[in-house]
């Protein structure tokens, strides 16, 4: 934990990494200055895009001692303001699951190539990013912890499956390769508390290590201070739970 007499410095910049199918994409990267070793974290942005909140979150993790990277999952949609690019992807029905998982794996491999990494990498995401974080932790080897914040559409109806989303993420639960922390709101419509309960049962069924928290008086996106669903107490508690969980799995031997 930071003490007021400690030196603190940070590097934060956009970089280029190898994403899905070895295509180059950009990413926002932040790390503490110093020799390390640092744990790594991949941050998966939400449907509203690779936006300012995700840059802030990336720097927040760096402030807490992580080498943090947030890949731009919408790189292939072209460039403009984060909103305009996200609106284009929204119009196209979202990023294909396989492509997103490939980009997330690329970000994880980038972290693992760094000489100052402590050998541990987690993955964090909110909204669709929470869904992708869980999906990646099931489909890719190399993650040591996953944080899913209100990821909807983990449980999916058959009618919602298509070429971009061919398999409901819950059906990969048996392949989950690391412990999972899930933060959800009781008033959320996706995932609903009932869907979260279904996911929890699946985690139990396969003996996975998990920690789910369902917050009262909270809906979807209760961390976003610039949106009406922001809930200060729940958000503060949620961040504490995230850093405690990650410290347990990413900083200890």
């Amino acid at each position: 934990m930071y003490q007021t007499n400690m030196y603190e410095g940070m590097l934060a910049e956009t970089i280029t990494i190898s994403g899905d199918a070895n295509q180059l994409i950009n990413a926002y990267f932040a790390r503490p200055l110093g020799a390390g070793p640092f744990p790594g974290i991949v941050l998966i942005h939400h449907i509203p895009g690779w936006d300012e909140w995700y840059r802030e979150a990336t720097r927040k993790f760096a402030h807490h001692g992580y080498a943090a990277i947030s890949p731009n999952l919408y790189f292939r949609a072209g460039h403009g303001t984060p909103e305009d690019v996200a609106a284009k992807v929204r119009g196209d029905g979202g990023s294909p699951d396989a492509q997103a998982v490939g980009d997330i794996e690329g970000a994880m491999l980038y972290l693992r190539s760094l000489p100052y990494l402590n050998g541990k990498v987690g993955v964090f995401g909110t909204c669709s990013g929470g869904r992708y974080a869980f999906l990646a932790a099931c489909r890719v080897q190399g993650f040591d912890a996953v944080v899913d914040c209100w990821g909807g559409r983990v449980v999916m109806a058959e009618a919602d499956l298509n070429a971009n989303f061919p398999v409901a993420p819950i059906d990969y639960t048996k392949d989950l390769s690391c412990p999972i922390l899930g933060l959800f709101g009781e008033e959320d419509h996706s995932p609903t508390p009932e869907q979260v309960a279904v996911h929890e049962e699946e985690l139990k069924k396969y003996g996975k290590t998990y920690e789910f928290h369902m917050y009262p008086d909270a809906g979807h996106g209760f961390f976003y201070y610039n949106r009406p669903n922001y809930r200060q107490q729940q958000a503060a508690d949620g961040w504490e739970k995230i850093f405690a969980f990650l410290e347990n799995y990413l900083t200890s031997d």
């Binding site: 609106a87 284009k88 929204r90 119009g91 196209d92 979202g94 559409r153 419509h189 979807h220 009406p228």
Partner: protein
């Protein structure tokens, strides 16, 4: 909530964006997360021209009722125009 509920429709018109008027040839209509209106979900319409890049976009985010009112208003206006013989397609 990420509903992924979206429909695209080809359109013929013009829209005024941040850099002035441009031709719009597609509307993306979704019911999903908005960027600005203080709601978890909204009826979003993006009038776009993808050939000009993501920035060629005129956006509106509407409540459900506002969207229904808008649809009814458009249909009413078109109906009046049709009755009056003003529609270009009718006049041809």
């Amino acid at each position: 909530m990420c509903t992924m509920i979206v429909k695209k429709v080809n359109i013929d018109g013009s829209g005024k964006g941040t850099k002035g008027w441009f031709t719009v040839n597609q509307a993306n209509v979704s019911y999903d997360h908005p960027f600005h209106i203080a709601k978890e979900h909204a009826l979003n319409i993006d009038f776009v021209n993808e050939e000009l890049g993501p920035g060629a976009r005129v956006a509106v985010e509407l409540s459900e009722q506002a969207a229904r009112n808008l649809v009814n208003a458009i249909l009413d206006v078109l109906s009046q125009a049709e009755v009056g013989g003003h529609l270009e397609s009718s006049a041809v």
